[in-house]
Symmetry: C2
Subunit: 295 residues, 2 copies
DNA sequence: CCATATCTCTGACTTTGGTCAGATGATGCG
DNA sequence: CGCATCATCTGACCAAAGTCAGAGATATGG
């Protein structure tokens, strides 16, 4: 990483805080102070539980209570206890709260428009495209990849994977695929890897080791997070986990419609081999020797 | 401007304040509070007058004094009266102040590096390129174009123009070009237009009207601000000024090496005509009928 | 030299944003 | 039931950031 790149990032930071920083200050023009406005926004049209708000915004619990009291006094929200656990409270917009949130939303739109307005249409399109790219790549940098115990979020990822496969390959039927037993996703038999962005899952992958051979399955990346190296990072972690579990070789199969995945496997050092299983919707089989745990 | 574009700008804003906003918070880790750190930075290696600092940072004069007192107490700056006017004070870094500023600088670099670090090199290059584009276009949107009385900054622009011409066309010699008399840049004979970004000049252009014919000259845009429509905006304002001064036709000549300028003139409705003057380094002559002042 | 304007400094004050320790009330486990 | 735990609430407290009115020093025009 050279100093030019660093300088570009810093120039970017300066330019953005100068021109776009005002987008946040728009809240200042209204009667709500900024953290209260952000909170109102975060509550959203469907309401939210306080513990979640606290986590998302990183607020002190006392501070949060105070902010909410203010919003309640202004008639913008009402709060009550959550149905499932009467210790936790939920906050919800009132009609006035909905109006206020919409007004803040419009103010934000106006300021965003002000950024584009002075530019001729061609530059405007270029700016929007560049902003989208920056947004995407900044998010990519914030994706974390880690081994996790299986849970409902992992199941949701796998379900999304199957839905996508069904959309690409008309033969596919999630009911007829070999199930992965839950205990194969825990040590010493295997591991589950999740990719997350700000806590929300954006990818998954599983590895299961049998007699020194690791089988990698269910590797999927959310469409919004593709092309950012998330798949490669998950694959690397799956292989490392396999090594840690004593595997000397990694195998995987894939559907012919998943061309991006095939390219990833090839570039990660896998070579195509004859079918090593009878997975119903597999069209290609790959294998790669893993480094030994000691090396 | 469609809603997709607005949404992209807003998503960008959110992503950036989340990931890059931390760049400013880096000051929080140090012992200096944020405004004091910014102030220290703004004083710069050559020192600065308080009135200028106040204007640049938009600070209350009392507040500024307090911040400076703090910096002085910490041994980071010293201050004295300005030579030219003993009412105004100057602030300057001490050796310790220089060290502190460098440390802040390094902290900023580290955080900028942290933005790029998690990305693979290809994505990193894409991010840097997109950031540069965003920076450039945001700046473009902040460029102002206005008629101004001539001054030293306009002269500096013209000098830069001549330097550039000399670099492109070996024949060129600034000494042998027709001079523009100063009174031709004021009403009722003409006008000077300047383009500025945050107060600093990034372009100039002059128009001088004789017997109902406007001659447009010295149209130049700083290399960093090209391709952003600044030239077009200046040209439009020059034509409007010409109309206001009673011109019915605009004429201009240009050097053959300035191909971008020629494209601009053609797309702005000018057509090439035979030479109407004997300007030594002109190769092309253009003309355009101007709308009447009444219409 | 006077009146007026300009620039800086000072002290009093306010708002904002935030932390912390402990009280209160609901839940779940044995 | 008794107790530990959890989520929230409350009040006390704090620093940072900023505003304001006015005092004091210096310049400038007449």
């Amino acid at each position: 990483m050279d100093t030019d790149q660093i300088a570009t990032v810093r120039a970017f930071n300066r330019a953005v805080t100068r021109r776009i920083g005002a987008l946040d200050d728009c809240y200042l023009d209204r009667e709500l102070p900024l953290p209260a406005a952000r909170l109102l926004f975060e509550i959203g049209p469907r309401g939210a539980e306080l513990r979640e708000l606290r986590a998302r915004l990183g607020l002190d619990s006392g501070y949060l209570t105070r902010l909410l009291r203010r919003l309640r006094a202004a008639g913008l929200i009402r709060s009550g206890r959550a149905a499932r656990d009467r210790r936790v409270r939920r906050a919800e917009w009132t009609a006035a709260g909905r109006r206020e949130a919409r007004a803040l939303d419009r103010a934000s739109d106006t300021l965003a428009r002000g950024v584009l307005e002075p530019l001729p249409p061609a530059s405007r399109a270029r700016l929007v495209a560049a902003m989208a790219e920056v947004t995407r790549l900044l998010r990519a940098g914030a994706v974390t990849v880690a081994v996790e115990p299986p849970g409902p979020e992992a199941e949701a990822c796998v379900a999304a994977y199957f839905t996508e496969l069904a959309g690409r390959d008309a033969r596919f039927d999630a009911e007829r695929i070999r199930k992965l037993a839950l205990d194969r996703l825990h040590p010493p038999h295997g591991a589950l890897v999740m990719a997350r962005l700000d806590g929300a899952p954006v990818g998954c992958g599983a590895v299961s080791v049998t007699n020194g051979a690791a089988e990698i399955k269910r590797v999927w990346v959310h469409p919004d997070a593709r092309g950012l190296g998330v798949g490669r990072r998950m694959l690397a972690l799956l292989e490392a986990s396999a090594v840690a579990l004593g595997a000397g070789v990694a195998r995987l199969d894939t559907n012919r419609t998943l061309t991006e995945a095939r390219a990833l496997y090839l570039s990660a050092g896998y070579r195509e081999v004859p079918a090593f299983n009878d997975e119903m919707f597999a069209d290609h089989w790959f294998e790669k020797a893993l480094p030994t745990g000691a090396g």
